[in-house]
Symmetry: C2
Subunit: 416 residues, 2 copies
């Protein structure tokens, strides 16, 4: 029988061997046939309406109106409370979503294919900054934007991606790491690089000049456009390692605004949860910690593959943005995360650390042993539905998840 | 009478107060009416055909054929030797050019306007990598590309820039410094940011979809596209300081492949020259130092305004590219350059140095006193005409220029 270390090397090798390509944008119902009427996928581990936080409820109400399953937001809340909607985590359907992470049948989804392993993963298209559904926004402006994304932007991106035969993401991320991105709170480089790579195909496949200009404008004004691509990529890279007997490597970290959950290779699809923590960070003018919702979103999948807080050294400017100290000390975060991982990624390196690879493959044993919790760079949502983002910060994954996972893992090994 | 320090603060203040905007692309003959038939502007201080290096001669031959002033390259060389062309530095006409720096009447020029001082500066459009005229390339492929730039790309960029009312360059550079660019050997961030800012206008003003796609593709494949914009910006920022009595601040550094030349605020348009040095760096596979031409180009104007080698700390990845040591030590270059400048630029800051401003305003007194020569990041051309780029490296400005400038400056002060 393989040792735990051998199983962990196997898990790491599967993650590192992945060749993720952004290949298409398709309607969610086509990507995930299980997505039928009144089914709503959300970020984080499983949760029902009654335990959902404010912004998640706000997003559920908004998406129900968007899909035509409710007449208005009040009607949507009443229907949700009456059990009219089926809720499930994105992670249960090969998908991920930032913050509230709404995925329903009519939304277009980014499709990332892992060419090495043949699996696909999905994420909705980033809506931009300001009042958006991922932060709980749900007014007419938010819904109109989702409709435009579904009608114009999604199909345009799909045409362009098919025309170029997809975009290889591993080299794109490698480049972004030399340009100050950590692919969680800072995606300006990869967003720009992706746009410049797709722009000629967008032009060649456009249906008219106005829509083309609107698409180029929308993508070009959104520094976080690439976040959702990076997330689908993270999911595509981790899924091939999601069921490896004897491995203590983390395959998912995710939050729904109430619970933080992790999954581990050796325990398969089981979630280990704990109350989610409050991010520590900086607030936009007019907001403070009392406005903040606890941490939320499937986006910690990027930390699960060595990016975000794990790649802080690549992104000194983000240290200031998330209020985590002096930018010149960014490498300290990456070095700390090196204490709790199985290895480093030779394909994703950090110039300022003399091209050391990003720390990859979180080992729950090392987390429990050292007490060093994974560092996650995150946005902060207002705790009330409909308000939106109020800041950005750093949050620690709760140690309790890792402790419980380690106990359950030991049981699978017959050594509890 | 003002002290030298006061005059230098005045020079620095004029440089820092500049608000450069990329406002247009126009034919060179329109930008610089003095550019008539058989007049060829080149990089560096003045030089005649007889003392020109191989790549500069190669470029002269090529541009003469491009302009229709010679039947072929041999004919162009014969005409050049016979005195058929008038040569002058770009710097004498408000222009700059990278490497060989050819500027002639039919080329389209980028126009950067300094909104604070009202002056304009010009640079040709970057041709991309590989075999290009700025590295002495002059075959049919090179000339065909120049024709396409003049016929399609230049006019397209001009239309887009006029449609958006120009692009402010100060904030763009500020952003590029947080994304690993130093704006000399690394411009991938600013090239991408400029493209994404102009893409919607390019789409709205395009004459047809194929030409639009070709323009987006050409810009998108060229990581150094922004270099020429940064150079015109540098010239637009330094020109308002080019004649300040009593100031020892450098207003231009430039090389023609034979001589290195500088200009100083207190001595106006006079050049102080010395034999140009050989870059120390890394060579592309198959090439070595024996293939290299000595240093060349007006591009050191970016170091003159605090970028390039002066901003090395912003671009650890470039340290490897130019073979200048360990990327983690990039800040040492910026700190060294801090020893020879009048001040720092609060608008252009470096995250990894906790947002310290780039060192700006080279003081010839400090260069002579410390023996610390300005560090310039540069491309390396093959010494034969027509070959192209063979590497990249770092070159030191020759101290002799600064020593002679200081003697001449002292004469202007009556203290020789």
């Amino acid at each position: 029988m393989k040792s735990i270390d051998e199983a962990n090397q196997d898990a790491l090798a599967r993650m590192l061997a992945g060749e993720p390509h952004l290949v298409d944008v398709v309607p969610a119902a086509q990507a995930i046939p299980a997505l039928t009427d009144r089914m709503i996928l959300h970020a984080g581990p499983p949760i029902g309406w009654e335990r959902m936080c404010g912004p998640l409820r706000g997003a559920v109400q908004g998406i129900a109106v968007f899909e035509g399953w409710a007449a208005d937001l009040g009607d949507a809340a009443a229907k949700a409370a009456a059990g009219a909607f089926a809720f499930a985590p994105n992670h249960h359907f090969g998908a991920v979503g930032p913050m509230t992470g709404m995925t329903t049948k009519s939304q277009p989804l980014l499709v990332v294919e892992n060419k090495t392993h043949g699996n696909r993963a999905y994420c909705a298209i980033n809506e931009g900054l300001g009042k958006v559904m991922r932060f709980g926004g749900n007014d007419a402006e938010v819904l109109d934007r989702l409709r435009w994304i579904a009608r114009v932007l999604g199909p345009a991106l799909g045409r362009a991606l098919r025309a170029v035969g997809g975009v290889a993401l591993k080299p794109l991320i490698a480049r972004g790491l030399t340009m100050g991105d950590e692919m969680h709170q800072r995606n300006v480089a990869c967003s720009s690089l992706l746009l410049r790579q797709l722009a000629p195909a967008l032009a060649r496949t456009a249906q008219n000049a106005d829509e083309l200009a609107a698409c180029l404008d929308f993508i070009g004004r959104n520094d976080q456009f690439f976040l959702n691509v990076a997330m689908a990529m993270g999911k595509a890279l981790t899924d091939p390692a999601c069921d490896i007997a004897g491995s203590t490597v983390v395959t998912a970290m995710s939050r729904n605004g109430t619970d933080f959950g992790i999954r581990v290779a050796g325990t398969g699809e089981r979630w280990f949860t704990a109350p989610v923590e409050m991010p520590v960070g900086l607030y936009f003018p007019g907001f403070s910690e009392k406005d903040a919702n606890p941490d939320m979103g499937d986006s910690a999948i990027v930390e699960t593959v060595g990016l975000g807080g794990f790649a802080m050294a690549a992104a000194p400017a983000v240290v200031g943005y998330v209020g985590a100290g002096r930018p010149s000390q960014a490498a300290a975060f990456t070095r700390d995360m090196g204490e709790i991982v199985v290895g480093h990624n030779p394909a994703w390196t950090i110039p300022a650390m003399d091209f050391a690879g990003v720390p990859t493959g979180i080992d729950i044993r090392l987390v429990v042993e050292t007490g060093v919790a994974p560092t996650i760079n995150t946005g902060i949502a207002h705790r009330e539905p409909g308000v939106g983002q109020v800041g950005a910060g750093v949050v620690k994954a709760p140690l309790k998840c890792f402790e419980e996972a380690l106990v359950a893992f030991a049981e699978t090994m017959g050594t509890a």
